[in-house]
Symmetry: C2
Amino acid sequence: MTTDCGRCPLRALRAFEPMDEREVDFMRGFKSGEMTIAPGAIILHQGSDSAHLFTVLDGFGMRTKLLSDGRRQVINFVMKGDFLGLQAEMLGEMAHSVEAVTAMRLCVFSRARIWELFSSAPSRAYDLTWTASREESLLGDRLVSVGQMSGEERVAHGLATLYRRGTALELLDDEGRMPLPFRQRDFADALGLSLVHTNKILRRLRERQIAIWREGLLTVLDEGALHAEALIEEEEERQRPLI
Amino acid sequence: MTTDCGRCPLRALRAFEPMDEREVDFMRGFKSGEMTIAPGAIILHQGSDSAHLFTVLDGFGMRTKLLSDGRRQVINFVMKGDFLGLQAEMLGEMAHSVEAVTAMRLCVFSRARIWELFSSAPSRAYDLTWTASREESLLGDRLVSVGQMSGEERVAHGLATLYRRGTALELLDDEGRMPLPFRQRDFADALGLSLVHTNKILRRLRERQIAIWREGLLTVLDEGALHAEALIEEEEERQRPLI
DNA sequence: CGAGTGATTGACGCAGATCAAGCGAAGTGG
DNA sequence: CCACTTCGCTTGATCTGCGTCAATCACTCG
């Protein structure tokens, strides 16, 4: 029992651009089902290929890269609306793994039909390329953070980025709390900091009443201060295409 | 006096996939000229838009991101065959700048016609998306390096990556030297290390007879050791599409 | 010939890594 | 239902890789 693309709950979000009827029709043909993933499960394996592509309908995950000696870099966090598996399709193998942190629900597309997308739905192909560009841009931001910023700046930047994405996806409850089910370990690996140091910085942000993250919920008390710390200039999220 | 796409000197390189006659025809229409850039000039500005897209015909450059307080992250180095400006096209503005390090020669495409590429040259659109994916994958590798590796590992990784790219582009002369016209400052900003520390590590690699980089030329004396240091597993570069 | 740029090297100090230990919550199996 | 383990978070103590400061050298250029 899968949801019809015409009623896709994601597209109802303000974050995403509308789709015209032709595009929705195409997506109906492109979609091959839905899938549920358990917390901790690996969705896509670094170095291997995949018969499917996915759009995240619900849940949280992360893209990770493992080094031979066990060190790990979290490339990015995965939230609803993100598209997974493009690298496997294009490059032949994934350069990173994608793993579920919470239970996730995924919309599944058959990789065999992606060529149809290019040959018969150019507007969808454009949106796919758009998505790849956006991913690259997010990666670039993280690289600046990890390469140039101090610990405090990185933690603030990481939280601010997640908070911004969460806000755009309307994840905040009526008390302004956003679900953030990652472990501090994951967050530290995303920032290139040690777990211990990350923990101490989070404590300081809590004590300074800027942001509180505990029990899987993030509350931003002073968004201005958080952005100042993160060297982020205010700018709202624009609508983006959904695949 | 511009080169005809049928005789594009880049496509002659083994690194790039062949193009069929239809595709070459399309590129002739897509190409709007050539351009020469002086060393140090900015080709694309972070935060702004561009009327053109480019493929690098010759020369070296770099993608950089500037922080408000002057810190700088070099996102990636730019070599011949790289495609520039996709982000401006897709996202509306560049998330980073692109600046020339040596004199550069660029093949210029009109941005207005990119939609034609999607609507009437799907195989070219596919290749464009491929290119975006590859860029993302390179960025991911750099993120792992900057986020998880020690100074020695990062420097080795950086040199090894550049050397691999240069080899694929047949840039090595008959004594195995590859042009590498960047300043140590640029390299340090790419690795997220200080200039001084980078310099000291380069010296050690020189003393250990692993790699020598001076006067704009890189010589790798012990590729095995370099790769070991960089935690890179051997793997040759496959052919890739050219835009 | 003075000024600017890039590479090089030594001395010193700190941000953040590593080590170590304790705490509460959630299994789990006898 | 209680011992026992596991997992994530927290906090203090100590150590070190790397940043910062500072000075010199070699070139190039107007």
